[in-house]
C-alpha cells in the first residue's frame, strides 16, 4: 500500500501516543514483573549450570554437573518425586471432593449456616507456620489431641510425624484441613451461580436428585472445578511452611517433596545454590507442563454456560 508522508506522520504520532499511554499504565507493573519474576527466573536457570559460591557471589560454569547430581546421582530423588506426586494427587482430590460435598451441605438452608461457613473458612486465612505449630501438639503421640481421642476409643495412636508410614498422611490431613474452606467457599459461589430455572426444567422433565446433580450441578460447576483444580495443583507444589514446621522432610525423607528439597539444597547448611536451582527449574518445568495440559486438554470440557 502506498503511504503518504502525512498519513504516516499521523499514524506514527497516534502510535507513539498509544505507546506512551501503555508504558505509563503498564510500565510500573511490568517493571516489577521483570525485576521480581522474569529476571530471577532467568538467573535461576543460569545458576543451575554453575558451581556457585553465594558468599563471594562467584560462579563457575560446570555444564550439566548439577543436573547429573540431582537427577541421576541423588539416590533420594525417586522417593522425593513419588512423595510430591502422592502429596499433590491426594490433597487436590481430597480438597475438590470434600470441598464440593461441604459446599452442597452448606448450600442448604440450615440453621447457623453462616457461622459454620466462617468457621470452615477461617483456617484458610491463618498463617501456615502457625497452623503447623498447633498441629505439632495435636499429633504428639504421647499426649496430643489425637492420642487422647483415639485412647477414648481404645485405639493405639500411631506415631504420626515420627513414623515414615504416617508422616505423609499427617501432612495431607493438615494441608486439606487448612485449604478446604477456600474450596468450599468458591464452590458455594459456583452453586449459587447456577440458574434455578435449569433445576426447575430438570425437575419438570422428571429428573431425580442424583440426575439433577449429575446433569445440572456438576456441569454447571465445571468452570469452578477447573479453576480450583489448577490453583490447588499449583499451590500444593509450593506447600513449604507446613512441611518445614511439621517434619522438615523427614523421617527418612518420607515427606520430602520437591519444594522442600529446593530449600534443603539451597538454604540449609548444604548451601548449594547450583543444585537448588536445578530443583527449582525442575519444579518450574513440571508446573508449566501441568498447567499447559490443564489449559489445553481439560478446559475444552468446561462448559461456561
Amino acid at each position: 500500500m502506498f503511504v503518504t508522508a502525512a498519513s504516516f506522520k499521523k499514524t506514527f504520532r497516534r502510535d507513539w501516543r498509544d505507546w506512551i499511554t501503555f508504558v505509563l499504565f503498564a510500565g510500573p507493573n511490568l517493571l516489577l514483573f521483570v525485576i521480581f519474576t522474569y529476571y530471577p527466573l532467568i538467573r535461576n536457570f543460569l545458576l543451575s549450570f554453575q558451581e556457585y559460591n553465594p558468599i563471594i557471589d562467584k560462579g563457575e560454569w560446570v555444564g550439566f554437573n548439577n543436573y547429573v547430581d540431582i537427577l541421576i546421582q541423588d539416590t533420594q530423588m525417586t522417593r522425593i518425586m513419588q512423595n510430591t506426586l502422592v502429596f499433590t494427587v491426594s490433597v487436590v482430590a481430597l480438597i475438590l471432593v470434600l470441598g464440593l460435598l461441604t459446599a452442597l451441605l452448606l448450600n442448604q438452608k440450615l440453621r447457623f449456616r453462616n457461622g459454620v461457613r466462617s468457621m470452615l473458612f477461617s483456617p484458610a486465612v491463618l498463617a501456615g507456620s502457625a497452623v503447623a505449630v498447633i498441629w505439632l501438639y495435636i499429633f504428639d503421640y504421647r499426649f496430643g489431641l489425637f492420642f487422647q481421642v483415639l485412647k477414648y476409643f481404645g485405639i493405639n495412636s500411631p506415631k504420626w510425624l515420627l513414623d515414615p508410614q504416617w508422616a505423609m498422611i499427617s501432612l495431607i490431613i493438615v494441608y486439606v484441613w487448612k485449604n478446604l474452606g477456600y474450596a468450599t467457599v468458591i464452590y458455594i459461589a459456583g452453586l449459587q451461580a447456577i440458574p434455578a430455572d435449569l433445576y426447575e426444567a430438570a425437575r419438570v422433565d422428571g429428573a431425580g436428585a442424583w440426575q439433577r446433580f449429575r446433569n445440572v450441578t456438576l456441569p454447571g460447576l465445571s468452570p469452578v472445578t477447573f479453576f480450583l483444580g489448577v490453583t490447588s495443583v499449583l499451590n500444593s507444589f509450593q506447600s513449604f511452611e507446613i512441611i518445614n514446621v511439621l517434619t522438615r522432610g523427614g523421617p527418612v525423607n518420607a515427606t520430602n517433596v520437591l519444594v522442600y528439597r529446593l530449600y534443603e539444597q539451597g538454604f540449609t547448611e548444604i548451601q548449594n545454590y547450583g543444585r537448588a536451582s536445578v530443583v527449582a527449574t525442575l519444579l518450574f518445568v513440571i508446573m508449566f507442563i501441568l498447567t499447559l495440559i490443564q489449559l489445553r486438554a481439560i478446559e475444552r470440557r468446561v462448559s461456561y454456560a
Binding site: N53, P54, I55, I56, D57, T75, L136, D140, Y141, R142, F143, N156, S157, L161, L162, D163, P164, R248, G249, G250, P251, V252, N253, E264, F267, T268, E269, I270, Q271, N272
Partner: protein
C-alpha cells in the same frame, strides 16, 4: 483555579528534580559553612537538653546478629544491655535473624547486598564456610588493640578452633559440649542413687525408669533428637565412645565403616527398636522438661533454660562411656565480616572483651549454660559461689578438659551434619542395615568433601 494539565505536572516534576540536583551539588560546600556556627549551639540549647540525651551520635553502634528465641535470645539481649550501660563509647544493637542456619543464610545474602551486620554469631559448622570464602576478618590486630582481651586467657582448645593459618577468625563465645541430663527426682523415686557412667549401666536402669502404657512408651529412659536437630553432633560422641568416629581432621580417612562406628549405629537403632528404652523425639528438651524422658544428652547451652523450666531437680553428669570416654565441643562464636569498617571492628572487640570476660562472660555463661570461655572466669569468687549453688553447671566445666574438636566430616564437609543425620534416621527409623547406610553416607561425604579438602589442609592448623 488552575487545573493540573500533563504539561504543568511534567514542568513541576522537572523543576523539583532540578532543585534536588542543585541541592545535592550544594551540599558539600554547605557543610563546612555550617561548622563555624556550631559552637554557638550549646548556648542556645535549653540547659535540660544535655541531661536527657547523653552524648548523641558519639557512641559507635555495632549491629550484631545473635541468638533467636527462648532463654538464649533473652539472655544475650540482657548481656548487651549490661554492656551498653557499662560504658558510653560503644552501643551494641542485637538483631534477631533466626536459627544458626537462617542467620548464616541471611549473612550470605547481606554480604552480596553489602548490608552485612558488623558482628555475627556463627555456629561450628558455618564459620569456616565464611572464612574459606574470605568473608571474615582476621582479628589478631584488633585483639592486640583491645586491652580487655588476653588471648592467652582463653581456653586454648576453644581458641585454637577459630584459627585460620594462625589468625583468629572466630572467637569463642557460646561454646558448648554435649552433657548428660537426668531427672533427679525420677531417679530418687526409682531408688537409684548412683548415676551410671557407662551405657550398659544406663541400659540396666531401663526396667526401673521406663513406663509403658500397653505397647506405648509413656516415659522413656532416653530421648534422641531427629535428623534435623543436630543428632549427628551428639552421635559423634557415641561413635567416639565406641571407638569409632566420622573422619580424621583432614578428611583423608572416613571412619564410618570402622566396625566400632557400625556397632555404635546398631546400638542407637536397638535403643529404639529392640531394647525400646529410648525414643526418637521432635524435641528432647521439651520431653525432658515435661518428664517424658528420664535422661537425655543435650547441649550445655540448654542448661539455663532447662533448669528454669523444669519443675523437678535437674542433675547433670559426664557422658556415659563405652570402650572409652568421648565428648566433642560445639556451639558458636563471634565473627566480624570483612565489610565492617575499621573503627567499628575495634568497637566490636570491646564488646567481645566484655561478653567473654569475667564480668559479662560470667553472666552469660551462668544464665545460658554455655562454657566460660576464659580460664580465669571459673576461678573468680563469683563463679565459685555460683558452682556451690548450682552444681549442675560445674559438671559441664569439669568435663571440658576431656573434650576434643569435632571430626572434619561433620564440621567442614558442606552439609555434613545433614548427611550424617539423615543416615542416622535411616538406621533408627528406617531400620536399614547399618553398614549399608554408612557405606552410602561415606560415599556422599567423600563427594561433598572433595572440594573443601584442599582448603582444610591449607587453612586449618
Amino acid at each position: 483555579m488552575k487545573t493540573i494539565t500533563r504539561r504543568n505536572l511534567l514542568k513541576g516534576i522537572g523543576i523539583g528534580a532540578g532543585a534536588a540536583a542543585l541541592a545535592a551539588c550544594a551540599a558539600p560546600t554547605a557543610a563546612p559553612q555550617a561548622k563555624p556556627a556550631e559552637p554557638a549551639k550549646p548556648a542556645e540549647a535549653k540547659p535540660a537538653a544535655p541531661a536527657v540525651v547523653s552524648n548523641p551520635g558519639s557512641a559507635v553502634t555495632i549491629v550484631h546478629w545473635g541468638f533467636s528465641g527462648g532463654n538464649l535470645e533473652k539472655r544475650e539481649k540482657e548481656l548487651a544491655a549490661k554492656f551498653n550501660d557499662s560504658q558510653k563509647d560503644v552501643k551494641v544493637d542485637i538483631q534477631v535473624q533466626g536459627s544458626y542456619e537462617e542467620t548464616a543464610n541471611k549473612l550470605t545474602a547481606s554480604l552480596a547486598a553489602k548490608q552485612a551486620p558488623d558482628m555475627v554469631l556463627l555456629s561450628d559448622v558455618w564459620w569456616f564456610k565464611f572464612a574459606r570464602a574470605k568473608a571474615l576478618l582476621a582479628l589478631n590486630d584488633a585483639v592486640a588493640g583491645e586491652k580487655g582481651i588476653d588471648a592467652n586467657d582463653f581456653v586454648p582448645s576453644l581458641w585454637n578452633e577459630g584459627l585460620v593459618k594462625g589468625a583468629q577468625h572466630w572467637i569463642p563465645f557460646a561454646r558448648s559440649t554435649p552433657l548428660f541430663y537426668y531427672n533427679k527426682t525420677m531417679f530418687k523415686e526409682a531408688g537409684i542413687d548412683k548415676v551410671p557412667d557407662t551405657w550398659q549401666g544406663l541400659v540396666d536402669l531401663a526396667p526401673k525408669l521406663v513406663k509403658k502404657d500397653g505397647d506405648n512408651i509413656k516415659v522413656s529412659l532416653f530421648s534422641h533428637p531427629d535428623g534435623a536437630s543436630y543428632i549427628a553432633w551428639l552421635f559423634q560422641c557415641v561413635a567416639w565412645q565406641f571407638g569409632g568416629g566420622y573422619s580424621d581432621a583432614k578428611l583423608t580417612k572416613y571412619e564410618l565403616l570402622n566396625p566400632d562406628t557400625i556397632r555404635a549405629g546398631q546400638f542407637y537403632a536397638d535403643s529404639v527398636n529392640k531394647g525400646k528404652w529410648a525414643v526418637l523425639s521432635k524435641d528432647p528438651q521439651k520431653d525432658f522438661i515435661s518428664g517424658l524422658t528420664a535422661t537425655a544428652i543435650m547441649s550445655t547451652g540448654s542448661l539455663g533454660g532447662v533448669v528454669t523450666d523444669a519443675k523437678f531437680d535437674v542433675g547433670t553428669a559426664f557422658l556415659p562411656m563405652e570402650k572409652q570416654f568421648g565428648c566433642c565441643t560445639g556451639g558458636s562464636g563471634l565473627a566480624i565480616p570483612v565489610t565492617t569498617p575499621k573503627e567499628k571492628v575495634q568497637a566490636a572487640m570491646k564488646y567481645i572483651a566484655y561478653a567473654t570476660g569475667n564480668d559479662g562472660g560470667a553472666f552469660w555463661a551462668q544464665n545460658s549454660g554455655y562454657m566460660p570461655v576464659r580460664k580465669s572466669t571459673a576461678d573468680t569468687q563469683n563463679y565459685k559461689d555460683f558452682f556451690a549453688k548450682n552444681p549442675q553447671f560445674k559438671t559441664a566445666v569439669d568435663q571440658l578438659p576431656k573434650t576434643r574438636p569435632q571430626d572434619a566430616a561433620r564440621n567442614y564437609v558442606p552439609g555434613g551434619d545433614n548427611i550424617i543425620g539423615k543416615g542416622l534416621e535411616r538406621i533408627i527409623v528406617g531400620k536399614e542395615n547399618v553398614e549399608a547406610v554408612w557405606k552410602d553416607i561415606t560415599a556422599q561425604l567423600e563427594k561433598e568433601g572433595e572440594p573443601v579438602k584442599k582448603d582444610i589442609a591449607a587453612l586449618l592448623g
